[in-house]
Symmetry: D2
Subunit: 252 residues, 4 copies
């Protein structure tokens, strides 16, 4: 969360990588720090990224997080089996603040956090891989359901335009069956790199609600770091090209 | 949901039993219909019943419902194992409208639904017994956290004042440990008749949020019907006393 | 497994408590060591105890052991969920040798192990409480199925004749339904102190086979120690009576 | 189990396909019936197939069968969750008799069942895919442990020598880690077409014991049928070549 360290989801805020230059200047580093978000943040930030044209204002989100999200040995089987644990240390704060930073804009060499207010309740459920999230969102704009579905389905970013090796063809997969997405059935599709969105429907309190699913071990961990690395290489911030690029950048 | 059929949680709306008289008059019945709510409604309606002094205005709730709530054979094990199913047919509507009816007031021989707006996302999780619900609520009043905890902990109703056999001593058990309530650890306590509330804390979107747990097979099914029956007997609406009571009531 | 330490299941080998006297003499102790068996041994030793009149000769047993048998935190949920772990450190040896000792006879102040040969394969399965065991047994005698069922059902010992507080009325409950016993349905019955036996039928290799279930946390742990303690008190080996008894015993 | 219908595991008894000719003669069929075994039989028959040089005499086997083996909807989640169901209708008989037929020899145009005696206890456990089996086996020969391991590891058959598309390179994968194979970790390897064998060690009752795992949905179902079909094509019993082959065969 350091202001000069970019927290990047390539489809959402690739431009935050510019902070790497500021790091070099401020810290005198040759390399740089680029981070990927918490495993539960990725799905939400990607979905809200797709809704950015409609200006998300307030979000209430409840998560159903997989056991693998706790690492190994992680949760004791006696705690996890046939149970819901309604608390994950530090997770709600990360989900609320990381998402604001990722959706934020670069202003004067720093990230200005997005103004969306997020309230998270995070839980652990006996699922192996895949974080499910039930989301209600209030938007400043008033899109129709079709416009929302189209915003999710057409969402795309630099990984797609650059054709990065680990990029899913569509970052968000929209489901129309009422009982999907489900972690067991959907989480491994698209190499675990897509976010699944389903049950898009009106929310009588905040406007719209939906369910999302993302793979916490792929899109929320190793795959996120990999896609970031591929983006850094493509943008010339890592690899031989980096020397030239950074040298050039340094001149300004 | 028929306007002359009371939907009763004895601690919350025992006075709705008066509708039984209207049934007798309108339908010419000697007996009557008194119903208990959907298994996921009970916990929410009880919690909001305790918060009625602060006037709940808007609620966003996400449920984690146990397998036993689907009856037998219910959910196929291949669907349920290590999975979250983000849809239960008709459940969200019930949760939204039944709660309004239960919290409503009797006016002119009919229930006037409470004005609270509820948005529910209901899911099935691999838990045996016990529905967990993550709730965010907006209140018209501005209680402190201590006042909220006290409202939950002191909540009480006719089953308690009448000492009905199946009544829990405290209808709502407040938990202070961050990782409670949990279905596996808490659902069977108090004979399965108490609602468990924990993690009461501010919600940056709606004001307050908390987690609740109730036993879908006891408080949400057989135990609910039993407590209703005990209340009917105690009020003289069932049993020998009923004859006299109804006879007396009939005179007015 | 020390030869002067009795390993006791009160229904099977209460007489081994005599070793406590030998301990006092050999070690000069005022107290004594009495142990209860491994959680997976109890069910097998009890079932074979009931079959002792038919002289068990060889046994092949495969266990399905509950997560709680590994203590806390025990097995990681990522290992346990939807899995079978075909190995439990040291468990097979305990099952094979403890059972021989428990079924053994006191000879010359020491336990002479029973001659039954046991081959165990022990596994961990995602069950909360209750060890299931699939047993094939070769007997020296040739009882009928009815005689076997009767031997199980009528099996009884000192806890029953002395009416010890924690003793189940029947140490072995015989099930006739083909799909029983099951840990989820049967393990808590009889206060968790009975061993459940079902599917008694011919084994084309060893003669007879059956399935047993016992509660690893009650009959296989705390309840076992408690019943041993109750037996020690009843026999005057613990408590005020012990002083007199041991004093008297010392004179011989 | 009809004597003129081959029950085929291509690595074990490809030669039984000759029965297809008998079918054509006896029934006057142009096509033919070739079946693949029960999902729990495959692993055992393959492992015993590898041990055929040592002449298996008696086998005691206990199975831990996955939920997917029961089809869909199959086992109710309320039965399956955190439970062991010690009975599967008809399964033990199939395991005992199918294995004898598969290991049998063709004599005079019919299968003469192998003389091995098998005693099976079959159970359902909360695993998604993969049947685990704990096996004790008595052999007529007296191989060393190394000879057994080699027999498993070098086992190979027509699918391998013909290079059939769905054939695993090694039909049996030998594990040396004490806690393997495990369904969650191993069942999907080798495309689900290999049988995993581990924990090979002496059995004090029957001589040797081990644990095996096979994928009930792949090697035990669709993959088995596919490999049979590939073998039929390769042998010219199906496809254009069949016409010639059968025509030729008919002349003899």
């Amino acid at each position: 969360m350091n202001p000069c360290v970019p927290l990047v989801i390539p489809e959402v805020n690739a431009e935050h990588l510019e902070l790497a230059h500021r790091q070099r200047q401020e810290k005198g580093w040759r390399g740089g720090l680029v981070t990927n978000p918490n495993c539960a943040t990725v799905g939400l930030a990607m979905a809200l990224g797709a809704l950015r044209p409609f200006v998300p204002r307030r979000v209430v989100v409840t998560t159903f997080q997989a056991l693998s999200g706790a690492g190994y040995p992680g949760v004791a089987s006696l705690d996890a089996a046939a149970n819901v644990i309604p608390f994950i240390q530090g997770e709600e704060e990360k989900l609320e603040t990381e998402t604001q930073k990722i959706l934020g804009t670069l202003e004067g060499g720093a990230v200005r956090a997005h103004g969306v207010t997020i309230s998270a309740q995070t839980t652990r459920v006996p699922v192996l891989d895949g974080h499910t999230e039930a989301v209600s969102v209030e938007l400043s704009e008033t899109p129709t359901r079709e416009e929302l579905l189209e915003a999710f389905a057409r969402f795309s970013g630099e990984p797609q335009s650059l054709g990065l090796p680990s990029a899913p063809r569509r970052p968000i997969v929209v489901h129309e069956r009422a009982d999907r997405p489900q972690p067991r059935l959907d989480v491994e599709s698209h190499g675990g790199m897509a976010v699944h969105v389903g049950r898009v429907r009106p929310c009588p309190v905040l406007g719209w609600k939906f369910v999302l699913l993302s793979h916490n071990m792929v899109r929320g961990a190793a795959g996120a770091a990999l896609l970031n690395a591929e983006l850094l290489v493509a943008r010339g911030l890592v690899g031989r090209a980096r020397e030239r690029k950074f040298a050039a950048a340094g001149r300004h």
